[in-house]
Symmetry: none
Subunit: 187 residues, 4 copies
DNA sequence: AATGAATGAGCGTTCATTCAT
DNA sequence: CATGAATGAACGCTCATTCAT
């Protein structure tokens, strides 16, 4: 196993655990047990748990962006691609791994003074918002820039609500309702 | 100090700490230090930290419902009272104590298997949703029940998004944008 | 066992270990094993290993000052009491617990930036020097203050050399030689 | 870089670190980082940290003996050369690298059972004492052998005290006072 | 001859909880 | 009814050392 493989394996195990159990409730010991490595090995790849946390967030974000991009771009050109953003949530919610939004959950666990992780989360969410805006610009080129920006923000807010609330309630009506609203404002 | 006073004092201190620092990052020791009591005294009032957690959530919820009710009912009858729900957020966001939604943050910190606390959170959010629905029924009696229910859900989702996202980004545009959307769908 | 007893017992075990094995080479685990207590118990008495270190130094210093005072004051008035300071070393060296000067050894183990412990050590050595000076003032009242101060410093330096070098070489000639020098300058 | 160069470079970096930070507080990782080599490379040159410790002591001792010899022999023949031994300390103390006596500090960090390193330190100190004695024999040939030996030991003890105590107190009066004593007994 | 990756054992510290008084 | 003292288990992290390449 190469160094890169080991690193990747650590990130994957940590990703699973951090997302399912929560960051603070997951001990380094569990991560290494799952990854089948020694503690010092982990610390030769990541200088601290926080460092691993950043890698975890990056890993999730990249995988997420890739999947949602693919999903949206697979839809017919036009409003359908925007609407797809929230449609994307249903299969995610239905999967047994669904446990809400990793960003919102991580923010909830962070001490107020942790700037580094918070900064990364904000950057990622800003990236997601930028992706939505780009999608709108590409699919609704006739809208005025100001309207495009507004629609992007609204889509984003509805998406976030749908994830967080379907998770909190353990029901998927927030996804349906957000979807309906989005469809209405996309006309 | 009566037994009731002691209990109340514990809850208040815990409330402050759990909300500001996070539940898992707040130790029992900090709570008793702030409350000025002995450890065993705390455990004579609450059988576990989880028990205190439930009391904390109840305390927050009651205070919140009281305040938002008062705020909304202080507005002129009609759509204005519905819109007030999200307007309520701006001063909260501006206050230095603002630290997002305690329910969403608590859900993020819980182990998946903790049913008790999750149940209470769901009950509270359901209560909040019921309050919104009641407000709509009172202020928009002409709407059909189905429409009322839908508007309630949408208002709720926009509210939740506004809190969570203004907290996450440290900016208040999510509040403004949610508010605009709400105004549009309230017409 | 009262709280005071437990604390005292921890200090005594730590004192033994820190002095015999060295501070950095003695783990908290060994201290608690010897003291027969749980780790958290130790940390309820001392907020850190450094805190225990300070208590250890204080413990050693107090016991030392008491013993050397008694030893010196047991000698006939006059130069004999001064000379006794270094004579005191011989039985200490002969005892199987002898392991040099705890202050010099602790200074050697400290990171440069540790001001707190270094300050305590300096204060203790200054206290020891002050004791010597007082002994000289009491026993050699005819000497000029300046000479008294000088003799105190010299006695101190010879004492320190005798401890450190007898320890380093594992031989007691440094004690004998220091003693001879002291006798000569005491005349 | 030849094998010898690598080895020398390791020793030099270790020497700096061990002396400034202390032996136990210096990790192997710091040494290899400073030397710019891989961990396994270090272990191909030195079979253990203890082995490197021995090389470090040798390195310090040789450099020290060379410098002090040169310093003393640069003085006019006679008592001046003996006195120079302690005069040598003042510029050393004034330099920003001064951190006490490496031997005394190393002895303080060793486990009691470490014979090997302790033996080397004793040998070195014996060598230093022998150098002093030789210097006395050369410069005070009229003294009886017994007196020469005694003066050597006294000079040695005063030197050691001066180093250790100026280091401990962070003041140079121990050097001045030792120097004065030495001058008096050199007459 | 030199390396990068891995390790077991141990570090100092904190946690929620219990119990004799 | 309230307390001070104690605890077992787990925490995140670092150490000197080894080995396949």
């Amino acid at each position: 196993m190469t160094k890169r493989d080991t690193r990747q394996s650590i990130i994957e195990q940590a990703s699973e655990l951090f997302y399912q159990k929560g960051y603070n409730l997951t001990g380094i010991n569990e991560v290494i047990a799952e990854a089948g490595i020694a503690k010092a090995t982990l610390y030769s790849h990541f200088k601290s748990k926080e460092d691993l946390c950043l890698a975890y967030l990056e890993h999730r974000h990249e995988a997420f962006m890739e999947k949602i991009k693919e999903f949206c771009e697979g839809k017919p050109k036009g409003a359908k691609q925007i609407i797809a953003i929230i449609e994307f949530l249903q299969p995610f919610y239905d999967s047994k791994e669904f446990n809400g939004c990793w960003c919102i959950r991580m923010v909830a666990e962070l001490p107020k003074e942790n700037k580094k992780v918070k900064a990364m989360i904000r950057k990622q969410k800003a990236g997601f918002l930028a992706f939505i805006q780009q999608l709108i610009e590409d699919n609704m080129p006739d809208k005025k820039p100001k309207e495009q920006k507004q629609l992007a923000r609204r889509t984003y807010l509805l998406y976030e609500s749908a994830v967080a609330e379907s998770h909190l309630h353990g029901e998927d009506w927030p996804i349906h309702e957000s979807l309906k609203m989005l469809k209405e404002i996309c006309q």
